[in-house]
């Protein structure tokens, strides 16, 4: 296969877009696509500071690399969750730090145990009946929101790609979780003074494209999945959608983008459905729909 732009041998064939690109033109094309999403969904402006949640994986490191190339003021934050299997958290922290040094960018590191006294696995074990992933999500959301607000960042960016969004959308559709469907978006505006704007600049990028980007660009990322994600339903949904995509190229994109369009046109839910009143947590001050303590603060109480 030949590159659509120069005729040289291609490194990637994107059947969903019906073209192939060589390494050089692929490295040009990916940032252009991300820039288009940033503008299309009004994520942030060139003069705004952005905080990127960095896991050490291909998506978040790729996103950071792309935003720096595009000239954005992008700083990283890494959260050490204390996942011990094979030093998973230690290894991923090293990948994030190495990238920051090479890129000459600033990385803030938050160690959950040093900061709050327990690792995620320890915390999850104490709270039987709650999954480690659920606990992890609560802790990450709290720390990231706090850091984005305290640091005065205009937006908090995560590396969620199209395949991630499709898996979540499929899950929410299977359960008809209208509240989640209402909130699943490329941009979540700051609906409270202590709630950061959340943006997903890779929302239109296939996971395949992001893996290829990291490989071609030579980004050293953590290849293993988090050990707690083994057997996760989201991974199973990704496998299902890969089958669909192989039989019908563009199926993932179609599913997600048609959903966004249908909601925007009010064909799914009324625009103000499921909007809960928000108060402030009496301990940490972050917004919450709970009457007193937020779910994060309740986690640490025995």
């Amino acid at each position: 296969m030949k590159c659509k732009r120069c005729g040289q041998p291609a490194v990637i064939n994107m059947r969903q877009h019906r073209f192939s690109l060589c390494g050089e033109h692929f490295l040009e094309w990916v940032p252009q696509q991300v820039q288009r999403s940033i503008e299309h969904y009004h994520m942030f402006a060139p003069d705004e500071r952005v905080l990127i949640a960095v896991s050490g994986g291909k998506d978040s490191l790729g996103l950071w690399d792309i935003l720096l190339q595009l000239g954005y003021q992008a700083q990283g934050i890494y959260i050490h969750l204390g996942v011990p299997d094979g030093g998973y958290s230690d290894v991923s922290q090293r990948k994030a730090e190495q990238f920051a040094v090479q890129a000459g960018a600033t990385l803030q590191v938050v160690n959950v145990r040093a900061e709050y006294g327990q690792t995620i696995p320890e915390l999850a074990r104490r709270r039987r009946g709650r999954s480690a992933c659920g606990t992890c999500g609560v802790v990450k959301r709290h720390i990231l929101n706090q850091a984005a607000c305290d640091g005065g960042f205009a937006a908090l960016a995560t590396g969620h790609n199209l395949d991630d969004e499709v898996a979540v959308l499929f899950q929410n559709t299977l359960h008809w979780s209208t509240g989640y469907l209402q909130r699943q978006a490329p941009v979540l505006p700051a609906s409270h003074p202590r709630l950061s704007r959340k943006v997903k600049p890779l929302v239109r990028m296939y996971e395949r494209e992001m893996a290829a980007y990291a490989l071609v660009r030579g980004i050293d990322y953590i290849y293993e999945e988090c050990p707690y994600s083994r057997g996760a339903t989201s991974l199973f949904y990704k496998t299902l959608f890969d089958q669909l995509e192989a039989a019908s190229p563009g199926a993932k994109q179609q599913f997600y983008l048609s959903f966004l369009q249908a909601r925007e046109e009010g064909r799914l839910l009324p625009a103000d459905a499921d909007r809960a009143e928000m108060g402030e947590c009496s301990r940490c001050g972050q917004p919450t729909t709970a009457p007193d303590l937020c779910v994060f603060c309740r986690l640490w109480d025995a």
Partner: protein, 62 residues
């Protein structure tokens, strides 16, 4: 050609594209990327008999 995926190794004889080899391994071509000598390849390529192709799972990390 030899194809390496995780801790498995497969050997293919004759003129076969990487895509067909991936399918014969029971994998979905959407779920992997093919790399030879550290360089990414499109899966329509037929490599030399003594070449080794490494497959990288698309889903990882995060």
């Amino acid at each position: 050609m030899k194809i390496v995926y995780r801790d498995q190794e497969w050997e293919f004889k004759g003129n076969i594209t990487i895509r067909d080899a991936i399918k014969k391994m029971g994998l979905n071509p959407e779920a992997v990327l093919a790399v030879r000598d550290g360089k990414l390849l499109t899966d329509d390529v037929i490599v030399r008999p003594d070449d080794t192709v490494k497959l990288i799972a698309v889903v990882s990390g995060g």
